[in-house]
Amino acid sequence: MTTDPSTGKPFARREQHSDRHAARPPDLTPMNPGPAAYSASELLAVMSARLLRDGQVVFAGVGIPLLAATLAQRLHAPGLTILFEGGVIGAFVEPGKLPPSTNEQRCTHRANMVLGSTDVLLLLQRGYVDIGFMGGAQIDQYGNLNSSFIGDPQGPRTRLPGSGGGNDIASLTQMIVAMKHEKRRFVRHVDFITSPGFLAGAESRREAGLRTGGMFRVVTDLGILGFEERSRRMELQALHPGVTVGQVTANTGFELPVAADLTITDPPRENELAALRNLDPDRLYTA
């Protein structure tokens, strides 16, 4: 299991787990003036799904990553191979039957293979995986993720659930992280590096012995962030419709350079939202 998929709050009602869906209208917060209304987590799922390419092998954590990978598989990337740390290769998660973690039988639906959890993680080390995809509780300017401690690790203000497979995934493959864009989550230095990004920037990741992988993109509800080629510092690469650069910097706890070729993302399309809501009709992951 990896980290907080941005919907950190507890969310558990019977119908969200059951395959007997209560047909209740979704509570949607309009985020743009266009025809389609969507929630922040739906925006996250759609935008990060678009980054996945057909034919890739993606190692997905629970929550938005699992949902976005499945969405990509249903839309533009039918040949996407999804791995789960519970020990699943090539899953095809069933609409309305989202698993409570990546370790339950729901993760195995129409999979090609189940295997031990150590063995599926070893696929990362062996180089079979193109993209690691997870949520994040706290991230810094070099893309290091913290899901272990808030405050001093020796006497933490908050003990968080920990790495799960997060450290292994981030150590061994290219990463997409999906998370809410908040100042308390985007900090200059994380309190603890659970899952390594580019460590202290420049060549430091490689010098630490991590020969592969690194942060590729961070997708938030405000925009898409990448990492400068040399310094390996986070930079703003795209804004979601209706979002300003000022909004992004106001919600970021460190100086955030803006890419020269800053783009604006296309708003979620009706077919994307429809497919997403079909997958998660009970809004287990897309509150």
Binding site: G8, R106, T118, S148, R159, G164, S171, S195
Partner: protein, 317 residues
Amino acid sequence: MTPAYAELCRRTKERDRSLHEKVMSLEDAAGLVPDGASVGIGGSTLSRTPIAMIWALIRAGRKDLHCIRSITSNEGELLFASGTSRHMLTSWFSQGIVWGVSRIMRLYTESGRARFEEWSHMAVGLRFRAGAMGVPFLPMRSMLGSDVIGQLPDARQMDCPFTGEKLVLVPALNPDFALIHVPRCDPYGNAQIDGLPFMDIDIAMAANSVILTTERIVSNDQIRRAPDRTKIPFLAVDAVVEAPFGAAPHECYGLYEPLFNHLDAYATRIREDPQESVRTYLERYFYAPKSWTEYLELLGLEELLDARRRGTGIYDD
């Protein structure tokens, strides 16, 4: 937990590895585990958690077990709150992501009353695998550069003697006991596992003693008709306990899914008042019932049947 090799082999040789019956009650199996023992727990998160065995250990008043599990859900909360364990070695510890960060885990670890020793998921797996292989460590390429390894004096770094690359060495885990829940096994302990095996085979082969709980005990003839399905061999197993719904309220692949209503209600109560809620939960579900069957009655037929319907549905189109 990484004993000298000769000692590891001696303990194995001393075990009765013959094809003999080892069926016993939950209570007798719990009696095999002394206070302070190290215990590898099978399954992961809400899957094939050996709840019945944990239930029996908590009822027996066992103290200070050093527990190891790949990912720890609310069984870890119950082990901490009952005093059965004050040390959990795991990669992730909370009931499950949909229920948020565990208030019990926070309460016990932030106050220093119990320890959550965090290793990466693959590190836990390779430590069990090294134990199962009879080697003192395995090398790996993750945890480098992170703060996780800085918290772990037991993990070492070295330059590879062949390539010069930096590697992390993780020491073998050979726990005193493995507690593993399976869908079926025979009276000798030949265990068949459907669906996700997690780390269970390595845990069983690494441990110095294996206690199996099983949904049902089948004949040795049935095992011999499909030996390819056998994942844990009898010669590693020391106790077999039949415990139907032995992972409830968690799931057992193809038989029942988690009892979500029960887990939701538990999480809600824990959020409101962690200390008091976990105490009353342990009293009601763990200490008060006279038998495992009575515990299942408390979970309720309606929930069990619903979990069964969802669980067996994995095989339907």
